[in-house]
Amino acid sequence: MRINLKKLDNILKDRKIEKGSRRASSDLIPVLQEAQEAYGYLPSEVLKEVSLRLKVPLSQVYGVVTFYAQFYLEKRGRNIVRVCEGTACHVRGGKAVLESVKGLLKIKEGETTADYKFTLETVACLGACALSPVVMINKKYYGKMNKQSIQNTLKTY
């Protein structure tokens, strides 16, 4: 599938990238974040173009993409299910919620359902600890989850 680089072009045009300065690489992470927002993940064509335009070696771009948990090199599902694995959630039954989701969607952490409806991820902490156990689907938080409520919640998607 050919990737249309127009979206990336618009992202780079909007940014006033200081050409030639050693600071160009400081735009790398924000550009990658916006590109991922636009494409849903980071296709290799996008990475190559980012490397050319920001004048950062592709190996360095790849190193950054693979270092940070937020970046994905593969297409993901329409809905990202993030189960919190923070300490507060862990102590209040978060593991059982995760097992439940894995059982319901029949995928493991980091995987996507065959129909590309859901991707399952775990996050170290979502910062909503008083509501533990917490699950985030796309940008929405769900608190005090248990095996039953997570099943009901997933059904609404």
Binding site: S26, T87, V91, A130, L131, Y141, K147
Partner: protein, 615 residues
Amino acid sequence: MRFNSIDDLLNYKKRLREGVKEDMPVITICMGTGCTAFGSEELMEEFQKEISRENLGSKIKLKMAGCHGFCERGPIVLILPEEIFYQQVSKANVQDIVKSVIEKGVVNQLLYLDVNLNKRLKYVMDIPFYNKQLRQVLKNNGRIDPESIDDYILNGGYQSLAKAIKDLSPEEIIEEVKKSGLRGRGGAGFPTGLKWELTRKQKNDKKYIICNADEGDPGAFMDRSILEGNPHSVLEGMIIAGLAIESDEGYIYVRAEYPLAVKRLNIAISDARKLGLVGEKILGSTFSFDIKIKEGAGAFVCGEETALIASIEGKRGMPRPRPPFPAQSGLWGKPTCINNVETFANIPLIILDGGGEYSKVGAEKSKGTKIFSLTGKVNNTGLVEVPIGTKLRDVIFEIGGGVDKGRTFKAVQTGGPSGGCIPGEYLDLPIDYETLAEVGSIMGSGGMIVLDDKTCMVELTHYFLSFTQNESCGKCTPCRIGTKRCLEILEKITMGEGEEKDLDDLLELAKIIKDTSLCGLGQTAPNPILSTIRYFKDEYETHIKDKKCPAGVCKALIKYYIDEAKCKGCTLCAKKCPVGAITGEVKKKHMISLDKCIKCGVCLETCKFNAVVVE
């Protein structure tokens, strides 16, 4: 309009004050992450519709606010000026609340129920969770609209900045911060005034201020609360810091997992820029300061200052050796002052009333208050702000309401995954950087997780090590390989394959990793191991020698069975069992087949007769 002088700011505030109807009731609805998770956005819409329907727009003001730090009780609605506290509010309660505000009544069933006093409490300050706290930094959380700079100014915002510009020289500002005794709230506890002084002393044409908002500790959400509930307090602190060290550029590094905080900060910076509080020639002075946001990309290690700097520079977030410290050579090699969100939020308070006044609260070596995020097996989970030096017992039992569901206290874990577990014998310990270190833990960013008798300390340690191992950047061998080896040993022990020498191996590894790791992540990763072996060695030995898990947690070491004396044969558990491991006829004793049982716990949750036993 733009403030071209301090008088412009003061006159603006005066005009805002004149527009306020003092006796008009205000309904504030919390829009923090916690309450929005429980539907406070829809609640706000419902309130708007109701007020419009009843034509009460001129009689009642509606305001968004947040976060109160009592998220479990959300959505929270606060009626001002009386300070009536409503919790777990739903759309169905809206009409009653609006009616009660007009009639000056109260909606009883929405009030907080104190289980110890067996009474519903009307006002915020009646509630022990709040009245035993000393909310200085969180004072305006839940009362001001975080997306309104006018509300911030009306409540005294940017007065400290005005004072710093008009009345104090940069050296005098630093002197006030030093006098205050403020120590960094991110965890290391380095004296803030001293850090500012060291950065100021560097001779360079360019210096930076960085706000570390990469609150990565699982279990900690105080920075999120400040950023979502009162973002201007952080901006004001940063601008004053820029004035003190002679910097004209600041960055706020926020973790990607806090989209609402990023949104609120963007609004705050934009509004401040419009009024000229951020940007060129602030308040008519020669001082200019701009602030940009950089979002994290999901790496716990980027909370470490040199890794954070690398991330802003667009690189992999790997720490580097110090010296040189960021104060000497930081962002792009320039002198940089990095402080935590809570540290910056304390600055306006210090400048307004003076360092001496600030230092009247707190302990001998550490002044002021600290916000703790109290979570885990405790009745009242939420944010607790108390003077440093308050006893652990007071926080957990007086404010937290003690251990929930009738279980007993086992330990409290402080400082996040880099911290240690403190047992009951130290409950009267005054909370301070040094006192916590003496008992094998750390203050950290302020996470405080209460553990009960159903917590397995070995499994918990395994959990912490799997976190730090996963987040290890990989640069230095002790952390990269050392934490992995520790994790492997802990995995073995929880699986019933522990050996005699395992404890000695863990202790030896812990010492090496602690002494030789490049950064704070590695240096503190062994703390959970050291503290749990120190205080709960018998639990490890039971796992290793007896192959048993006393708390009934480690799956490989526990068995589920049905107590025949209690089983009524209702068949509910058999029906719910996902693998068909339970057999039995109606009204006859049921049995769990240990071969099929996957220890998922559904039968335990389902049984109404406490007949399912785990041991």
